[in-house]
């Protein structure tokens, strides 16, 4: 159809496509294989060609109501049925329902003797009969190259194959033709010359003893297609292709916060924890509590009723559950409730791409809100750092696009290398929490810092990270003139501080007592002085009285003398006498006043 439209002029009709039903491949090819045309799938032995062809037919029959014909040149129908039964495809059922024809073409070189000109009309007739019997829309030939082994005259074969593919096109069936990969060429027998509309190359590579399957669309006439090598995996659900470039940097940024599972860590992160959908990196040396941090995060998420996935690349789920029990985190109960799921695989179990693919697939199936990957450093065992970074970038994009809060743990070889994570992924992360072992006084103590946390105010303080059977506690580290102290040193220092404080309090108390007693002593002194003064005063008063008495006696004596002398009693003498008496009294008064003037201090003391 595209061909005719091309001839007719610039009608930009999309090339009609036949969805393969293979996860991811339809994204890469923009909808599937070219409808009504043959496509070539080539690859070396064991890379999944037959499965590719079979899945194409089975998905077509099941999901798109397009019956198919599978012509097998290598395996018998029984073998094929058995092989794909493990992938959940029931070929017998499809055959019984008239959705599929399995035709095994047996070619035995020793039985065949060529005696002149021939053609492959027999094959055509068989195929046509099969197609017509189920009204097939899809055809798979696996692998047509077996003909080269069976029939001697290559010239005739090539001409016949060319005719076959043209004939398939005329029939309007979407065909998948598989071919073995040759040395330096796509296929051993140059099949790509005949089938030129769409060529898909499957590859099975082994790097460092770890195998990765990759798929590449080499050619796709009349259509845009992804040109990269895409890793794909074969598992219980058949083939899954992982498009690398289908993810971009346009994921939403939620403002909702989720708890870290550690109260004080939440507080350090602006009081509320991580942003939902953010990626968190927890780095630290061996035994700094990375897994525990992850487990607490998961525990908190499940406590909120969210679904969580714990990807364990290091420990088995049982081991994790047991170990986390020791810090009071019971992960088993969430697993029983179906909120927590474990996904455990040794990093070396499969290749890096496969890991990412498998993890992504698990995430797609479970659709969790929280994912913990413990720990990404292990992935380095299966791929170079650069690849690991790429794979993780993809993973992070994938997680972010699904608003999944993810916590990655990563091992740091040396505590000193703060700015170095071995996979160089820190720049991709939104939050970076650093766990460190501080060694001093013959002990190692865990500390926790927040190195970065995008988009929120966060504490710049180090905290001591204490794991106990009650869970995790963050304690303030001791900050003083001697530097940061943790653990026993901190406890000792705190004790010493306590003792010092006590001493200071005692000192104050002592001073106060001293002051009291001084005051008491002073009081006593004052009383004594008062008493002394009173005695003195009494003495003085007495002497004054005596002197006054003496004076009056003298005055009496003088007046007696005057009377005796016969002085005029009413004369001036008498008057003087009276005055004198008065003068004496005033004199006494004056003396009193003077004394009063001299002794205000003493009187005040009283």
């Amino acid at each position: 159809m595209a061909k005719s439209s091309g001839r007719l002029g610039p009608t930009r009709n999309e090339l009609p496509k036949s969805p393969t039903g293979i996860k991811g491949l339809d994204d890469v090819t923009g909808g599937g294989l070219p409808k009504g045309r043959p496509s070539l799938v080539c690859g070396s032995a064991g890379c999944g060609k037959t499965l590719f062809a079979l899945e194409f037919l089975a998905r077509g029959a099941l999901d798109h109501n397009e019956p198919g014909v599978f012509m097998a040149f290598e395996e018998t129908a029984e073998e094929l049925t058995q092989n794909v039964a493990s992938l959940g495809i029931d070929l017998d059922d499809l055959v019984a329902r008239g959705k599929l024809v399995l035709d095994h073409v047996h070619i035995e070189r020793s039985e065949i003797q060529q005696t002149g000109e021939y053609d492959l009309d027999g094959l055509f007739i068989r195929l046509e009969h099969a197609i017509d019997s189920v009204k097939a829309k899809r055809v798979a030939l696996d692998t047509v190259e077996a003909l080269f082994a069976g029939f001697p005259d290559e010239m005739i074969l090539r001409a016949e194959l060319r005719r076959l593919f043209r004939w398939l096109k005329e029939k309007g069936v979407t065909a998948v033709i598989t071919a073995e990969r040759g040395e330096g060429t796509l296929t051993r027998h140059g099949m790509e010359e005949y089938v030129a509309d769409c060529v898909i190359l499957l590859d099975h590579r082994v790097n460092d003893q770890v195998s990765t399957r990759r798929l590449r669309v080499v050619k796709y006439r009349g259509s845009l297609h992804g040109t990269n090598e895409y890793p794909f995996l074969i598992d219980d659900d058949g083939i899954t292709v992982m498009p690398i470039t289908s993810l971009g940097l346009d994921h939403p940024a939620p403002t909702e916060r989720v708890s870290t599972g550690i109260e004080r860590l939440d507080f350090m992160l602006g009081g509320k924890g991580f942003y939902r959908g953010s990626s968190v990196l927890v780095t630290g040396g061996a035994g700094t509590g990375k897994s525990s941090t992850g487990a607490l995060f998961v525990d908190a998420a499940c406590g909120r009723g969210e679904t969580a996935l714990y990807v364990a690349l290091e420990e088995s789920p049982h081991q994790i559950k047991r170990n986390m029990g020791s810090i009071g985190v019971n992960l088993g109960r969430w697993e029983k409730k179906g909120l927590l799921h474990f996904f455990a695989a040794r990093p070396t179990a499969y290749g890096l791409e496969m890991h990412v693919a498998v993890i992504q697939k698990a995430i797609e199936q479970l659709n969790p809100q929280v994912v913990v990957i413990d720990q990404v450093t292990n992935l380095e065992a299966v791929g170079p750092t650069h690849d690991v970074k790429l794979a993780l970038t993809r993973m992070i994009d994938f997680l972010k696009s699904r608003r999944i809060t993810a916590l990655f743990t990563s091992l740091l070889p040396l505590a000193d290398e703060i700015d170095h994570t071995d996979v160089g992924i820190s720049s991709l992360m939104d939050v970076w929490i650093m766990l460190r072992n501080v060694e001093s006084d013959g002990e190692r103590n865990r500390t926790i810092y927040i190195l970065k946390s995008r988009g929120m105010s966060h504490s710049n303080q180090a905290r001591e990270f204490i794991l106990s059977s009650r869970g995790v506690e963050l304690a303030d580290v001791y900050l003083g003139p001697e530097g940061v102290l943790t653990g026993a040193a901190r406890a000792a220092r705190v004790g010493r501080d306590k003792a010092e404080a006590l001493t200071r309090r005692q000192e104050v108390e002592r001073r106060r007592r001293e002051l009291e007693s001084k005051r008491a002593a002073l009081k006593a002194q004052v009383v004594a002085l008062q008493a002394e003064f009173e005695i003195e005063e009494a003495e003085v008063l007495q002497s004054i009285e005596e002197m006054q008495l003496k004076e009056s006696v003298l005055a009496e004596g003088r007046s007696e003398m005057a009377r005796l002398r016969g002085a005029d009693p009413d004369g001036p003498t008498n008057r003087r006498q009276r005055n004198g008496q008065e003068g004496g009294a005033s004199e006494q008064n004056r003396e009193k006043a003077g004394r009063a003037k001299a002794g205000p201090g003493r009187r005040a003391g009283r």
């Binding site: 073409v105 039985e111 065949i112 005696t115 002149g116 053609d119 027999g122 007739i125």
Partner: protein
């Protein structure tokens, strides 16, 4: 013996006449030829695993032998049928 053909193509006609000639020459009266036209009975192609046309299938005696082509190479046909040429044998 069965000869599989597809319609009346020149190749098929040549094959049939060649076969007839060989049989008459080497085993007159001791053979039976069954011609099957796959255009009329396409389902039969599956049973004898026929791909090439024309194909001559010798069922008996075992083992099954398939001779493809228009049977113009008499030597090869005889080898394929496991027959010794009469001339040489006599």
């Amino acid at each position: 013996m069965r000869l599989y053909v597809a319609g009346q193509t020149p190749k098929c006609l040549t094959a049939f006449s060649n076969l007839k000639k060989i049989c008459e020459e080497h085993m007159a009266g001791r053979y039976r030829i069954e011609v099957i036209d796959l255009l009329k009975n396409p389902q039969l192609a599956r049973g004898d695993q026929i791909l090439a046309i024309p194909t001559l299938v010798r069922k008996l005696p075992e083992p099954v032998r398939k001779i493809i082509g228009d049977l113009s190479d008499t030597e090869r046909v005889l080898v394929g049928l496991d027959l010794r040429p009469l001339k040489r044998g006599s």
